[in-house]
Symmetry: C2
Subunit: 347 residues, 2 copies
DNA sequence: TTGTATGCGTTATCAC
DNA sequence: GTGATAACGCATACAA
C-alpha cells in the first residue's frame, strides 16, 4: 500500500511556496502584498506556486507580523429586527470593497454588555470600530483610546458631542413629527419608547416630543410614556395598556417601527380603527413600515448613507488620514396612512 | 514638562504581566488558560497584574501558537430579511456560551460568492463552519476537506445526503401544505419561488408541490411557476404578474414568507381579497407572518432548534468528539388566515 | 529586484 | 507548581 500522503498533512506555508518557486520567503510575501516591488517574471512564478500548492496565508501569523488584521468591528444594539440591517449592509459593502472584513456583535441595548463586546472584538483583532449612539460606559471609551482603536459613532448627530459621528438629529426629527401631530389637533398624546437610560437615540426622540409639547403649552404631565424593549410584542402590549383605562390617547408616537407594528396589530385585534380612532406613528422607516396595513407614517432614516459614510470615516481614520468632521444627515417624515386628524372627543 | 508616557506606548504583553507578578510568562499563560494548574496564590497575583496593566491577549499570537482561534464562521444566503436571523441568533448564543465568537458572511444565494466567502472566513481563522443547504461548488467542499475544517449543513434534512446536517425535509413540508391546499378544492395553483438552480431548499419545496399534484393527477403543465429572488417587492411583482392574464390561480404558494408578504401587499392594492378571492401561503414562519393582515398561513420552521443543534454538532466536531448522525427536525403547518377554500369559478 | 535575518506575542514541551 | 525555551508563519528593515 503506497503512502499517498505524508503523515504530516499540514497546510503549505510561505516557505513551501518559496521553495517551489525557487525564491525567498520575502519575495513570496512581497509578490502577495506589494506586487509592484517584484519583477513580473518572478511574480508569475510565485503566483503559480501559490495556486499549485493551494496556499493561503495564516491569519494569525499575518496579524502578528503586520500588526494589522484588516478587520473592522461593529456593535449594534440588536440583530433581532431589521432596524440596523440596511445600514450595516451598506457599511459592510463599502468595507469589503476596500478588502476589509467586518465582525459584528450585538449588545442587547446594554452598555455593560457592549463594553464586553468591544473588548472581545478588539481582542479578536478589530482595527477599528463602528458604534451606535454616544451612550456607553466611560471604560468603553477609555479602553478604545488607550488601545488607539479608531471608532466612529453612528445613528446620531449631536453638535454638542466632540466625538466623530455620522447620523441625524434624533431630537429634531421627532420634534418635526410631533409638530405635525399637534397640527392635526391631537391633544392627548402617548409615547411608546425604548428604555432611555442607556440609549441616547431614544432619549433624544422623547425629548423632541416634549420640546414641541412645551412649545405649544401642553401640560407635560399629561404625556403618557411607556418604556419597553423594542419588539413587536412589547409594542402590542404597551398599546393595549394605553387603550384601556379612562384617558385614551388619540395619537400614539412610537420610538420605532417595530413598536408601531405591534401597536397596529393590537389595534386590529381590539377593532380600533387606525387612524380614525387613533393615530400611530413609527420611526426608522424599515421595510416593515410599508408592509403593515395601514402603512405606517414614520420618520425615514438615511440607513445606507450612514453605513457608507461611517465606512469612509473609519477607513480614513485607520489610514491616519484626516476624516474631517462629524456628518449630519437628514431624517425626513414619510407621510403614509396611520396618522390622521384627531378623533372627535367621543371617549 | 514631565514625560508622562514613555514614547513607546505599546500594549502590555504576557511578559509585562509576568514581570509585574514576578513569575514566568508560562505561568501567566497557564493562569489564564488552565487555571487549575496554578496555585491559588500565584494565580491571584497574576490576575491582579493583568487587571492593573489592562492586559488582553494578542489574538494573532494566540492563534499562531495555539493553532486555534475559537472562532466559527457561518455563511447565510442573505441578511437582508429575517429568514435566518432567529436561527443564527440561537446558533450564536449557544456558541458564545462556549467561548466561541461567530463570524458571519452572506452569499447572496450565489455558490460562486459563497465559495469565496468560505475561503475568506477560513483564512480569517474560522475553526469550523455553518453552511446552509447542500448546494455549493465542488471546490467549496474540497477546500474544506483539505483544510480539515469541520462543517455542518443546516436548514435541510435529506436522508440521501451523507454530509452531517441538521434541518427539516423541505420537500415533505411543502408537500404537506400542498395537500391541504388541494383538499380545499383549489385546482388552479401557482408557485412563487426563489431561483432553484443553486438552492436545494427552494428546489425541494417546489418538488414537494409537484409530488402532490402528481399524486392527485393534476396536469403539471398547468402549474405556473415564477422564479425570483426573495424580497417583498419581487413577491409583489410576481403576484401581480400572476393575477393579470386569463387563467388566474386560486392559490398562490410562495417559497417563503417574504415573497408571500409581497404578494399580500399587491393583493391589497389590487383589491383582491385574501383568502376569499385567492389564497396565499408562505414558508418559514418568521415574525412577519403574524404581522401582515390577514395573517399568513405558512410552514413553521424550527429556527432556534436548528441553530442550537448546529452549534452542538459543530462543537463536537471541533473537539474531535463523535457528533452522531444528521438530525431531522419537524416543520409543521401554521394555519392562519390566508388559506381558504377555492373561490367559485367566476373568473 | 531579491535575499537574509529578526521579531511579533503566544502556547506547549520539556525539565526542574 | 513553576520556569526556560522552542516553535508558530509571516512581514519587514536592512543588506546585497
Amino acid at each position: 500500500m503506497p503512502i499517498e500522503q505524508p503523515a504530516k498533512t499540514n497546510l503549505p506555508t510561505l516557505e513551501d511556496v518559496a521553495a517551489r518557486a525557487g525564491v525567498s520567503t520575502a519575495t513570496v510575501s512581497r509578490s502577495l502584498n506589494a506586487a509592484e516591488q517584484v519583477s513580473r517574471g518572478t511574480r508569475e512564478r510565485v503566483l503559480a506556486a501559490v495556486r499549485e500548492l493551494g496556499y493561503a496565508p495564516n491569519f494569525g501569523a499575518q496579524a502578528l507580523a503586520a500588526k494589522r488584521t484588516n478587520t473592522f468591528g461593529a456593535i449594534i444594539p440588536t440583530m433581532e429586527n431589521a432596524i440596523f440591517a440596511r445600514g450595516l449592509q451598506a457599511f459592510q459593502e463599502q468595507l469589503s470593497d476596500e478588502g476589509i472584513t467586518l465582525l459584528v456583535a450585538s449588545s442587547s441595548y446594554s452598555a455593560e454588555l457592549e463594553e464586553q463586546q468591544i473588548r472581545t472584538l478588539v481582542a479578536r483583532g478589530a482595527d477599528a470600530m463602528l458604534l451606535i449612539g454616544h451612550d456607553r460606559t466611560p471604560e468603553s471609551y477609555s479602553f478604545l483610546e488607550r488601545r488607539k482603536i479608531p471608532y466612529v459613532v453612528a445613528w446620531v448627530y449631536d453638535s454638542d458631542e466632540q466625538r466623530l459621528s455620522i447620523g441625524f438629529d434624533n431630537r429634531k426629527a421627532m420634534a418635526e413629527l410631533t409638530r405635525r401631530v399637534l397640527d392635526l389637533g391631537h391633544e392627548s398624546i402617548a409615547v411608546i419608547t425604548a428604555e432611555c437610560s442607556e440609549n441616547d437615540r431614544a432619549r433624544e426622540r422623547l425629548a423632541g416630543v416634549k420640546d414641541v409639547m412645551r412649545e405649544n403649552d401642553f401640560d407635560l404631565d399629561s404625556l403618557r410614556v411607556i418604556e419597553t424593549t423594542y419588539s413587536i410584542s412589547n409594542g402590542a402590549e404597551a398599546f393595549s395598556e394605553l387603550m384601556q383605562g379612562g384617558q385614551k390617547p388619540t395619537a400614539v408616537l412610537c420610538g420605532n417601527d417595530v413598536l408601531a407594528a405591534g401597536a397596529l396589530m393590537t389595534a386590529r385585534q381590539l377593532r380600533i380603527e387606525v387612524p380614525r380612532d387613533v393615530s400611530i406613528t413609527g420611526f426608522d422607516d424599515i421595510e416593515l413600515a410599508q408592509i403593515v396595513s395601514p402603512a405606517l407614517t414614520t420618520v425615514h432614516v438615511p440607513h445606507r448613507e450612514m453605513g457608507r459614510g461611517a465606512a469612509r470615516l473609519l477607513m480614513a481614520l485607520r489610514n491616519d488620514k484626516d476624516p474631517g468632521h462629524s456628518i449630519e444627515l437628514e431624517a425626513s417624515l414619510r407621510w403614509r396612512e396611520t396618522l390622521g386628524p384627531a378623533a372627535s372627543k367621543s371617549n
